[in-house]
Structure formats: C-alpha cells, structure tokens
C-alpha cells in the first residue's frame, strides 16, 4: 500500500517513441463466455464453467491500438493480470499485437479492481508508453474501475467510453469522442493518456489463421509481484477496498401467463397486466 506509482514525468513526456511509431499498451481481461454455465456455489463463491473469451470491449481496445500501429508504426503490447488464463493475450496476438505480458502471482487471489489497477500501473510506470487502451468495462463484473484506476495511479489523463479516436503524433495530442446524454462530447487530450473503449469505436477484426497459429505458439512473458516492487499487502484479500458480500443468482423467469379472453377484451386485460403487474407502462 501507498507505493509511489506516479511515473517519472520525464519518461512519460519523452517524444522519442513517437518518431519511430507509437508505443501502445492494451489492458485485456479474459471473462466467462456468455455460453458458460455459472452457478452460485455459496454466498461468496461462483462455479464457472471452463469457457472463457476476451472481454468484448477489450477487443475493441486491441483493434484501436492495431489501427494506430498500422497508421503510425510502433508496437502494441497486450497486458493482463490473471493467475490461470492467458486467452485474452493469445487473442490479442492473433489479432496482430506484437507482445503479450501476463502478470501472475498467488498473492493476487481475491484482489479487487483497485488492486488490479495498482498492479497494472506498477508494471507500466517505467515503460515509455504513448497510449494505454482498455475496454470500458469487463463483461463479467461490469465494474469499469480498472481503466480509470490505472490512469489515476499513473497520473495521466483518461477519457472513458470513447467512440472515436484520432491521434496527432507531432502535436502529441489525441482527439476523442464519447457519448453523453442526448449527444456527443468531443475532447482533446495530451499524450500519454489512457482511454477506455466503447462499442461503436470500431469493429474488431477476425484473426487470420496464420496469426492464430502464431498466437498458439507465442511465448507469453510472465511477471510476478516482487518484480513490480509490490508486496502481498498491496494486493489480494489484504488490500480489499471493495468486498463482495453475497452473490445472488438472477431471479427465475416467471411462468407465461396466457390471456384467454377473445378480442377486444384480451387487449384490455393485456394493458391492465402490463400496467399493474409488470409495471412497464
């Protein structure tokens, strides 16, 4: 706890990397497949079928990173914190990312989103990045905390839920759009920065099989807690700020109610039920 995670300003403002292309990191997470069976095993434990895929919004972030690399050159690195799985890293490589890094350590078990953000930031703090991208939220917990959390720990600007992204490499500035109620907001932001990506920013590519094969064989760089200058007290159950109190399964769908009257009485009954029972009108 309380480690100085704000990076050295000279590293973050260095423009060297932009001359040879952009240094982009994409934070990715593997989440249970929508088809996976998830059961509430106990108040604090879920039983999740072993089917995982890359969180959809993170794929949008990878795509955004790859598009910038194709335009300006540079490197895209996918980064995850997961003790068991690297599916999202392989997915990133199969889409075209250059490198993959897995942060894993038994001490991470039970970490909350803040500990994850702190750890990712600890890895990134001395890297010469121009841009960090990630999904607006993970598709399992829908928390949306890690992205902004990493930006805060690094002391860099962040914009949430962007739907367009343009980078001015020379001016070291990005122009982004995000949806707000009844409209859109267009913002400019100095680089380096962190953006979380929303549906509409792009359509993630389907990987070519050649890259899939490359991803299957790819060596994933592994980083542990100690090498990040963090200790067990900084992560895991010891560092919890958000505690899960109880998991509840979604309510069962009520049985279908058949309206037996003939027209036009059935319409009146339907409207009455929608208003009084379902309370949707």
């Amino acid at each position: 706890m309380g480690l100085p995670l704000t990076p050295d300003a000279s590293l973050l403002t260095a423009s060297d990397s932009l001359e040879v292309g952009m240094e982009i990191y994409v934070l990715v997470k593997q989440v249970p497949d929508p088809e996976a069976i998830i059961k509430v095993k106990s108040d604090l434990e879920l039983e999740i079928e072993n089917k995982y895929f890359t969180s959809f919004f993170d794929e949008i972030a990878v795509e955004a990173g790859l598009k910038l690399k194709e335009k300006f050159g540079g490197k895209v690195t996918v980064l995850t914190l997961d003790n068991r799985r690297v599916d999202a890293l392989r997915r990133g490589i199969s889409m075209g990312a250059d490198e993959a890094v897995q942060i894993a350590d038994p001490a991470f078990e039970g970490s909350d989103q803040f500990a994850v953000a702190r750890t990712l930031a600890a890895y990134l703090k001395d890297k010469p990045f121009d841009l960090i991208l990630t999904g607006r939220q993970a598709m399992d917990d829908d928390a949306g905390i890690v992205g902004p959390g990493v930006a805060e720990c690094l002391g860099i600007p962040h914009v949430h839920s962007i739907i367009s992204l343009e980078v001015d490499v020379q001016g070291r500035e990005a122009k982004v759009t995000r949806e707000v109620e009844n409209g859109k907001e267009i913002l400019t932001c100095p680089l380096p920065a962190l953006f979380t990506c929303q549906k509409g920013l792009n359509s993630p590519r389907i990987p070519q099989v050649m890259n899939v094969m490359k991803a299957m064989k790819a060596q994933i760089k592994k980083v542990d807690l100690a090498s990040l200058g963090l200790g067990p007290a900084d992560v895991g159950s010891q560092a919890l700020r958000v505690k899960v109190q109880k998991y509840l399964p979604p309510p069962k769908r009520p049985p279908v109610k058949m309206i037996k009257e003939d027209f036009p009485e059935n319409v009146k009954t339907l409207v009455k039920l929608l208003r009084e029972e379902a309370k949707v009108i």
């Binding site: 497949d33 995982y52 895929f53 690297v86 599916d87 392989r90 997915r91 199969s94 389907i206 990987p207 070519q208 099989v209 050649m210 899939v212 094969m213 991803a215 299957m216 064989k217 049985p255 279908v256």
Partner: protein, 386 residues
C-alpha cells in the same frame, strides 16, 4: 498417466477462435444461406481471407500444416454454423486439393494449389457416378492413354462444388474389367483452351446442406497432359484414396457431432419454455429420456472421434475405428435431429424454427465416406471373421 483426454490450452484457444469467426460470419446468415440455395461467394471470399483453406497444406504453398486434431476441431466448429458451407470449405481443404498437393508437379501446385488455398480457384473430387459410389469398383469413367496424355470420358454425379469448380480430381478407370485395380486419379481443369469436352451438367436441388452447390460433371473425350495423372503408378488409385478416407470419415463424424449438438441445444431451450399441461415439457420423463439418450451417445461419439483423430495423427492404423466412429456419430446425429423434431411437435414442420433445417442437413452425412449399409456389412464381416 498415459491416458489423457484433455485438449491443450492452444487447442482450446484455436477452438474458441474458430467458434468466434463462425459466430460472427456464418451464424447470422444461416437461415438465408439455406433458403437462397446459392453458393455464398461473399462469405466464401471473407472466409478464405482468414486463411483456413490452407489448414492442412504445406507452408510453402500458403498453408498452415496443422495437425489432425486441430483440423478436426476446425471441422466440428465450422459445421456448427452451416453444414452446406462447411461441406464446400472442407471439400476445398481436404478432398479437393489432397491429390494435387500429394502428386502434382511444382507448376501444377503453383497454378492450382496456391490459388485454391487463397480461395481464388474452387476445386472438387469426383468419385460418384450413376451406378457407383460406395462401390468404387463399379466406376465407369474411362481414362485412355494417348500420345502425350490421356483422354477422359464419363459422367460424375453428386459432386460437391461441381457446378462452380475450376479444377477437379477425377477418379477414372483404365479398364472397367480391372475393378478396383484399374482406378486412378486425374486432374481435369476448366477454362483451359485444350479442355474442350468438360461440361457442367445438371445442378441438383437438395433436401439439406443447400448452400453447397452440387451437380453433375460430364467429361466428353477431354484431353489432359501426362502431368495431370495424379499418382506414382497406374492402378493405385484405391490405395491413394485410402490415405484420406480415415480423415474423411472422422471429418464427417465431426459434422454430425456439430449438427446434433446444435439441434439438441435448440430443442433443450424449446423444451424448457414450451408449456403443456401446466409444465414446461422438459419436466416430462418421455422428453427427458430423449435428452439423456442423446447425451450418452453424443459423449461416446465425441470420445471415439477424437480418439480416431489422435490415431490418425499418431500414424496408428485405424481404418475400422474410423468407420465405427463415422457410423456411430452419424446415427447418433440421426437420433438427435429426429427427436429434436418430435420435441418441437407440430412446430417442427414449419420453416420458422431451425429444427427442420438440422434434420434436413443431417441426412447429407449418411452417404459420404461409405453408406451405413456398406460400412456395416464390412464391419460385421470383419467382426465375425474366425
């Protein structure tokens, strides 16, 4: 600890990737593909662009040289989408290009295999005739040796991709009296000046697998040069065919696995929601029994099919096992689609629900790799042998 049924992390990743591609490219169009009954050129181009057509070919020609288990994972996932599209793609990946890759000279490989892997040229293999299919010894298409090459005469039927194929691997006999010993493979291409006589005959309208176009091909005294003879020695066609029959049978079984699973998943959701006599019909024992039987046979089938894939990959002789696996998986699939139809009751009989498409598509699997009557006759004979 020699027995291990698990897939590697890489294989699981590969499956997930193919599944995602199928979900995004094919699934949204399944109904349209079935109803239009046309070859989906746009989907073909998009799919070919991903590189899967080179799955089992050498890297030198643009392929990926994957192992058999990986290929079978691909076939299983692809057929989940559209059986018809899977048939066209697998024809290109496996049967349609195998003998060209195995026996074609470098010029042929550059001219045909390389664009085939890119999806630019579509190919097929031609076994079946009006009087022969599983009975290959009855092949009547004739190859006659002439100066500098061969003349091919005959008609081939039930040719997947036939109406759109630019190159065909044709099984023909040098002498019908020789039976199986007279058979050989020849490469015959369309759209080449000296290939007069190669005509696309009638296109067949099928019960299922309808977006793969199937038809008749006519070879009327077509001349082909010597290098288009695909083999090392005359009369070894059947032996060469045997090299891929195991793969073809397991691949067909993988298609059956995929269709049966999709059909029963669909039926499960229906049975959980369709209320009769005050309960979802999945609460009734006669309906539950259908799922229990399917589950048992599906798991057995899947285990046997992947065992066969492992045996092929490990070069362990497995002709009988592959026949058993194809037979079991396809019969299991027939059970699944039939019971799926019954679970849907009268709704099964209209095109609004997908169950009838599974039923129609599945029937296509009964014939490739040997009809079940022929397979069972052979297997029974082997089993009863003293």
């Amino acid at each position: 600890m020699a027995l291990d049924f698990s897939f590697t992390e890489e294989q699981e990743f590969f499956r997930q990737t193919v599944r995602d591609a199928v979900n995004r490219l094919i699934m949204p169009r399944v109904k349209e593909l079935d109803e239009k009954e046309e070859f989906p050129w746009d989907l073909w181009k998009e799919f070919a662009g991903l590189g899967y057509l080179g799955l089992r070919h050498q890297e030198t020609y643009g392929g990926m040289e994957t192992d058999t288990i990986t290929q079978m994972i691909f076939y299983e996932e692809l057929a989940r989408g559209s059986c018809g599209f899977a048939m066209s793609a697998i024809m290109q990946i496996l049967m349609g290009t195998y003998f060209i890759a195995r026996f074609g000279n470098e010029e042929i490989k550059q001219r045909i295999l390389v664009p085939a892997i890119k999806g630019e040229k579509i190919g097929t293999i031609c076994f079946t005739e009006d009087q022969s299919g599983s009975d290959l010894g009855g092949t009547r298409t004739l190859a006659t040796k002439v100066d500098g090459g061969w003349r091919i005469n005959g008609r081939k039927q039930w040719i997947t991709n036939g109406p759109i194929a630019e190159f065909t691997t044709v099984m023909a006999t040098v002498d019908p009296k020789l039976g199986l010993k007279g058979l050989n493979f020849f490469l015959v291409e369309k759209k080449t000046a000296d290939r007069d006589g190669f005509v696309t005959g009638q296109r067949l309208h099928k019960l299922g697998s309808r977006c793969s176009v199937t038809g008749e091909l006519v070879y009327d005294n077509v001349f082909i040069p010597d290098e288009n003879f695909l083999g090392e020695e005359i009369g070894k066609g059947v032996q060469y065919a045997g090299e891929i029959l195991n793969e073809v049978r397991v691949m067909t079984g993988m298609n059956a696995l995929a269709i049966s699973k999709e059909a029963m998943e669909d039926a499960r959701q229906y049975a959980n929601n369709r209320v009769a006599f005050g309960n979802p019909i999945s609460k009734y024992q006669l309906i539950r029994e259908k799922f229990a039987k399917f589950w048992a046979w599906y798991e057995a089938s899947r285990t046997l099919l992947y065992k066969c894939a492992w045996m092929i990959q490990s070069n362990i002789p497995c002709t009988n096992e592959c026949m058993l696996a194809k037979y079991h998986a396809t019969e299991m699939c027939m059970y699944a689609v039939e019971e799926g139809m019954r679970i849907y009751g009268g709704n099964a009989f209209c095109s609004e629900y997908p169950v009838q498409r599974f039923w129609r598509d599945a029937k296509f699997l009964l014939y490739g790799g040997g009809t079940h009557e022929v397979l069972c006759d052979y297997l029974g004979r082997i089993y009863c042998k003293d």
